[in-house]
Structure formats: structure tokens, C-alpha cells
Symmetry: C2
Subunit: 162 residues, 2 copies
Amino acid sequence: MSTNLPSTQDLLHLELFLPYRLNVVGSFASRALGRIYDERFGIGIPEWRVIAQLGEFGRLTSRDIGELSQMHKTKVSRAVTELEKRGFITRSENRQDRRESFIALTAPGARIYAEIVPLALAFQARWTEGLAPEELRVFERVLSILTERGRHLAGTYHENER
Amino acid sequence: MSTNLPSTQDLLHLELFLPYRLNVVGSFASRALGRIYDERFGIGIPEWRVIAQLGEFGRLTSRDIGELSQMHKTKVSRAVTELEKRGFITRSENRQDRRESFIALTAPGARIYAEIVPLALAFQARWTEGLAPEELRVFERVLSILTERGRHLAGTYHENER
DNA sequence: CGCAATTAGTTGCAAGTGAAACTAATGTCA
DNA sequence: TGACATTAGTTTCACTTGCAACTAATTGCG
């Protein structure tokens, strides 16, 4: 009864190779969600991530958003610019440090957030429906470990700066 | 002792949101592996996927490669063109169906494959090191289910054609 | 203080991407 | 057979991306 698990052997089956599998499943999720965000709200995934962080934490700087959502600072910059142009967020200069500015959801932005959250949660619920809670728990635990190790294996430079 | 698991609630924490997490971990893996492929062999991830499939299955058409590796046909086309230009693969017309051609690794291509496979396996081994086999087994099982469902949630159009 | 180093954020640029249109070949079906 | 539909693969185009360089502000340190 072999484990079918990744191990050190001399054969490689791409369809069992974790980095490949994680990218495939991630891209499926992005495609499905991206379509929802775009069709119903006209925004992309980077914009959604910005809104999600602002909805969860309130006022943040671009730097905070990048760190929290693991996005490159240029991606954050562009998403923020776009969201501001559409009136979903506002920027206000930080008088204590005029390099940065505080970003917050406007009322329309908060409305979008309030509309997307249940959709996102429903999507996740449907996606994980029927899986044993214990299995899901293990899955998430392993996922956390792989993410943390991946952050280091990827080197000092992740998608966001530093 | 709450489960910390995704469920239908009215709060969303992006850092616990599965689509987000899967994309983050996938991008870490891609970045780490991509750096290896590029630095040591001068190829990118799409090229690596093509080589991997040819190394595993032998002679294939571009269509096969796209299906097996879940890549859009244009991405396959470009990777194949590039690999041919570098002498890692050859194309030979299929006389039974002259729309397609068979693609196979050349000797240098097979050498690259033979060099990358142990690196990839070692990477995976190091990445999953110390995790309980039973946990990894559960992880992979859930990952398979999520992938299969994701394929459908993403709609008929995945990254590859149709 | 004053000057070098650091940091927040933006922009130019070159590369990579997928959708759609396209070419050429094959399949289908009356 | 002949016309229409389908398929393999390529190319064009618009868009996204990350890196590097940049600006402006702040910090650190002699």
C-alpha cells in the first residue's frame, strides 16, 4: 500500500508534483472568483484584496495593504489608484509622515465590500462542501506550514517588497 | 475551541480565505522553483512543464501537452517554439494528421530533464519534510477534491482551450 | 546641524499573458 | 463529392505584471 505521496524517488509525475498542483488549483479559484468580481463589480483580484483588507482592518497605508495581502507594492499602488478613481476609497495624507497616506473605504466601497463578503464566503462554503471538518482542519494546518516554508524557500524577495 | 475553518459566517478574514491562500502558496512555490529553472537552465515554468511531460510520456502533440499540464494552447505554443529554438526538443509532422506534430525531447533536452527531476523532487521533499505521512495524505486528498471542483467552478474554460 | 541611508509610493519599461482572430488540415453529413 | 463544422496550432493585440529607477519625505548618525 504505497502512499502516493511526494517522496524522494527518481520518477517525477507532474500531476502529483505539489508546486504544480497548488498553482493549478489556485488558478482555478482565481478564475472563478475573478469572473464574479469582474462581472458583478467591475474590479479585479488585486482591487478585491485591497478592499478586503480595508474592510477587515479599517484605515491602512499602502504598505500595510501590501504586507497583509502579499502583493507587490506596484500592484497595490495601481489597485489603489484605480479604486480611488472609481470612488471606492479615499486617501488622506498622514501629517506625521507625509510619505505615506491613509486609505479607507468610502461608503460605496464599504457597500461593495458588504456585497462581496457573502459571495466569497458562499463560494468557499460551496467549494469545501461535504469535506469532513477534521480533514479540512488537517488541510489547513498543512497549508499553513507549506506557506510558511514556501515564504522562505522563495527567498527574501516575495511578491511584496524587501 | 472553534475550528478556525472556513464556514458560512459574516466575517471574512482574507488570510484564512482559501482561494487567496492557495494563490499565495502557489506563487511562493513558483518563485522558488522558477528561480532554479532559470538560473541553472535558463528556462521558465511553462518550458519546464513541457519538458516534464515529454520526459514522462515521451512523444506528444502540443495539444496533449496542454491538456496534461493545464496550460493554455498559446502558452504551450510559445514554450515549444522556444525549446525547439534552443535544441531541447524536435517536432516531426504527423503524416496521419498534418495539422499536428509530434514533439519529443532531444538528447540535450533529455539531459536537462534528468538534471531537473532530482532537483524538483528534492525541493518537494524539503518542502514537505517532517510532515506526518498521514497528514500529507489527507492534504493531497483534499487538494485533489478542491482541484476537481475548482475545475468546474472555474467554468468550462480553464487555462487550456475549450 | 548636515549629509548619507532608508522608506513610501509612483512610473517607465520590457516581458509574459489570454482572448480572439486567423490558417491550414481534417471530419461530418447530405 | 462538396459544403459546413471542427480541430491543431500560430499570431495579433490589449492588458497585466514585476523590476529598476525615480521622487519626496524621514531617519540615523557623525
